[in-house]
Symmetry: C2
Subunit: 307 residues, 2 copies
């Protein structure tokens, strides 16, 4: 069976190794080992593809430095040969294991025969801002792992280069958060435990305007008006921007709002009092993505008409 590794399958669900992998569902084991668990074909595929990218740019060991080991049942390996092939090509060790062993390692009920132990992805703020991305999401005191993961996924889709979580936010390596990112955790510069004031200063120094999203503030700028400005090539959505999103229940604290260059609200056309955090974030981040591209289009059109 090409692409499916041979060798003895790990078969003892009570072994030291299996228990060490299982323990990664907990924060203390993740911090101690510097690793976390990516479960299921989508997350493992994105991890392995990122490992291949790192290896292409950074030498033979760079892939395995990100993905320490892929564990696969025979069934998982034969259904996802592309993933196993990419892992082997990236220099990532692949270990066969029985269904029982995989179930004992996993946090999910159905990891579909594949999981990977990966190095923690968070990095220092200056790394994530070099080169400066045109779009960044900042999560301040966001507590729900599903919300945070869904924002990471939406940020990736909207073309953001980094996501910054301030001190007191959820651990992005929490299994539920990892699942909600659907692999996007491996695509973004992720910063954890950031100090809000220091993060805002660094973002501004990197040339980004800092926008606080706050649906509850009637004095906030209306996102639709800013999109109008951006189609004319001006305003905060026409250029690089960092969006700051607050806690699910309490929004942004006054001192966090005060740090921003502007406070912006998504217009509420119906009778809903607010949007869910991740849906609001998606609307804001896509507004910036659109505004930045419209400015590009406006600039191109102006260049064309003056030529």
């Amino acid at each position: 069976m090409p692409g499916v590794p041979g060798g003895d399958a790990l078969s003892n669900p009570r072994s030291e190794r299996v228990r060490a992998v299982r323990a990664l569902a907990g924060r203390s084991a993740r911090l101690r080992s510097g690793t976390f668990l990516a479960e299921g074909p989508q997350a493992v595929r994105e991890a392995v593809l990122e490992a291949a990218r790192l290896r292409a740019g950074g030498g033979a060991d760079a892939g395995a430095a990100l993905v320490r080991c892929v564990y696969a049942t025979d069934d998982g390996a034969s259904r996802h040969r592309d993933v196993i092939g990419a892992a082997l090509a990236a220099g990532v060790p692949v270990r066969r294991c029985t269904e029982e062993v995989l179930a004992a390692m996993a946090d999910t009920l159905t990891p579909q025969g594949l999981l990977a132990v990966c190095a923690l992805v968070s990095r220092p703020l200056p790394d994530a801002l070099s080169p400066a991305p045109a779009l960044v999401a900042v999560l301040s005191q966001v507590r729900d792992p599903g919300n945070a993961g869904t924002v990471l996924r939406a940020a990736d889709a909207a073309g953001a280069g980094a996501v910054v979580l301030t001190r007191g936010s959820v651990d992005v390596h929490n299994p539920k958060c990892v699942r909600s990112t659907a692999g996007s955790l491996f695509h973004l510069g992720v910063v954890e435990d950031a100090d809000p004031a220091a993060a805002v200063a660094a973002l501004r120094a990197a040339g980004l305007v800092v926008l606080a999203a706050d649906g509850g503030d009637p004095a906030a700028l209306d996102l639709d008006d800013l999109l109008d400005d951006a189609s004319a090539g001006r305003g905060p959505l026409a250029g690089p921007a960092a969006w700051v999103f607050g806690n699910e229940a309490h929004g942004l604290a006054e001192d966090e709002r005060a740090l921003a260059d502007a406070v912006v609200r998504v217009p509420l056309h119906g009778r809903a009092e607010s949007l869910n955090l991740a849906t609001a974030a998606a609307v804001c981040l896509y507004a910036s993505a659109r505004g930045q591209r419209r400015r590009g289009a406006a600039t191109a059109a102006a260049a064309g008409s003056s030529a």
Copy 2:
């Protein structure tokens, strides 16, 4: 204590009444009784405000026809006097109960001292489309109650008038779905168990263009291009639209896509393969909301310049 009802508090968590309310967490009891449970101050407030609206339009009994009873602990009632006052003004019975009774009734761990038994909100499709709303969300085979509820909330925020769930979709009165709507369940015309072809035909007959959202289709129209068209006052985002969203895992079936007037994708600027259902829905619904308002602005501007 004004606004806080008197009378004996219900104190037996094993009583017939308490067990009947608790049973509403299950679908069969909801269908049998025609009622469901709204838990916590936000859901109960929106239920009661809708009851007041119905009473203002439809006579003394119309409020209590929607909200059959509000149950409140003394603490819940004194912290949310506005809700209790609005319930009493809408002709909705309010019953005191002990913390133990409320906990025994509730599906949530923390209903914060308030819950309401309400009549099921779903209605026949012709009712929900009369008068025809300018924006509708259709959920096809959506299975996760949290996803469905979050889409309802986003649809409400974007100004949609109705949400249609096709046969095989989640029950919107499921407690987790109700919570995720954050009260928006009471703001929208909700249709359940719809036949996809019949729903599309009715939406089209009501003057709406039917757009299937499908991120995985490279031949689909790009949402950004449609927004450009809409700023020029043309295309499907410039007028009334129904958006059809598919199952979380499998998207839309081929026959469902074929029913639509156009297939549209949200552009993926980064490396994410797709968006989460609710975030994609929010971006699409807000695009329609913006396109419809831009057309309004364009029309107003044209009228102004020709005057």
